[in-house]
């Protein structure tokens, strides 16, 4: 599967979770459910951005390995696009909580709809020029 398809799929999956989250938010729901959902959402949105960037970088798109994440970050940092840099760093940090950290209830206060809007604004771009 190519990077652009992966980016779109990850974004669509996270978007579906976020919209469902806002629908069920009024119902009785455990904090644990909310934590699980946020862990998945943060991780999917991060990978949506990661693959979106790779889809537009001919040099990195065919490469693989864990070091690639840091390389992508370095290139985005030098990109001169503060919005892209901000959203990418924000999600990269949230993914650390999602994948590796114990529960922190401050994660429950992160505004999912804002992230949703921010990621979508990048996913729908025709080009990412760095």
């Amino acid at each position: 599967m190519d990077h652009l398809t992966l980016a779109n799929n990850f974004n669509a999956f996270a978007y579906e979770l976020v919209t469902n989250h806002s629908k069920i938010n009024n119902e009785v729901k455990s904090i644990q459910d909310d934590i699980f959902l946020r862990r998945i959402v943060f991780s999917r949105y991060y990978y949506a951005l990661y693959h979106k960037y790779l889809a537009h970088d001919d040099e990195l798109s065919s490469m693989s390995g864990s070091g690639l994440h840091a390389t992508v970050l370095e290139k985005i940092k030098c990109c001169g696009d503060p919005k892209l840099y901000q959203v990418y760093v924000k999600l990269r940090n949230l993914r650390i909580w999602a994948d590796y950290q114990d529960t922190n209830h401050l994660a429950l206060t992160v505004n999912l709809m804002t992230i949703n809007t921010d990621v979508f604004s990048i996913i729908k771009r025709k080009q990412i020029k760095c």
Partner: protein
């Protein structure tokens, strides 16, 4: 050619011994006792409760936390000056883990500020100088 003053080795050793004795006299008696009562090489010692300099409550660790709070205070002052609001909560989820650390904040009356969809980016650009000079944060974002 420069030469040392005419001092014999015995004078130097005598001065060292006297200095050591004075130092031991002024030192805490329990500390001296622990030095004197050094265990034998094959004696088992339980160090589980021993205080070590790398403990999380060490003064160095506290200094780092203090510097972090100072950085956040500087950012808060700038936000207060430019936007007329203050930080009410902060969170650093990848503290000490990632090379690019994001400071997540919540500000007073955040919902009304969020009517401007560029507020989060404006906030980052407004405090970019403070973020760039900070040793702890590379980015700021809203919770």
């Amino acid at each position: 050619m420069n030469s040392l003053p005419n001092t014999s080795y015995s004078n130097i050793l005598g001065s060292f011994a006297m200095g050591t004795a004075l130092l031991l006299q002024s030192a805490d008696s329990s500390a001296v006792e622990s030095i004197i009562k050094k265990p034998k090489y094959d004696q088992y010692i339980n160090y589980d409760t021993a205080k070590q300099s790398t403990q999380s409550d060490s003064y160095i660790q506290n200094d780092i936390e203090m510097l972090k709070i100072l950085d956040i205070t500087n950012i808060n002052n700038k936000i207060n000056t430019l936007f007329g609001t203050t930080i009410t909560e902060h969170w650093i989820p990848a503290d000490g883990i990632l090379e690019e650390t994001c400071l997540f904040i919540k500000v007073d009356k955040q919902e009304s500020f969020m009517q401007n969809e560029d507020f989060e980016l404006d906030l980052y650009l407004a405090v970019k100088d403070e973020i760039d000079t900070s040793s702890f944060f590379n980015m700021i974002a809203l919770m």
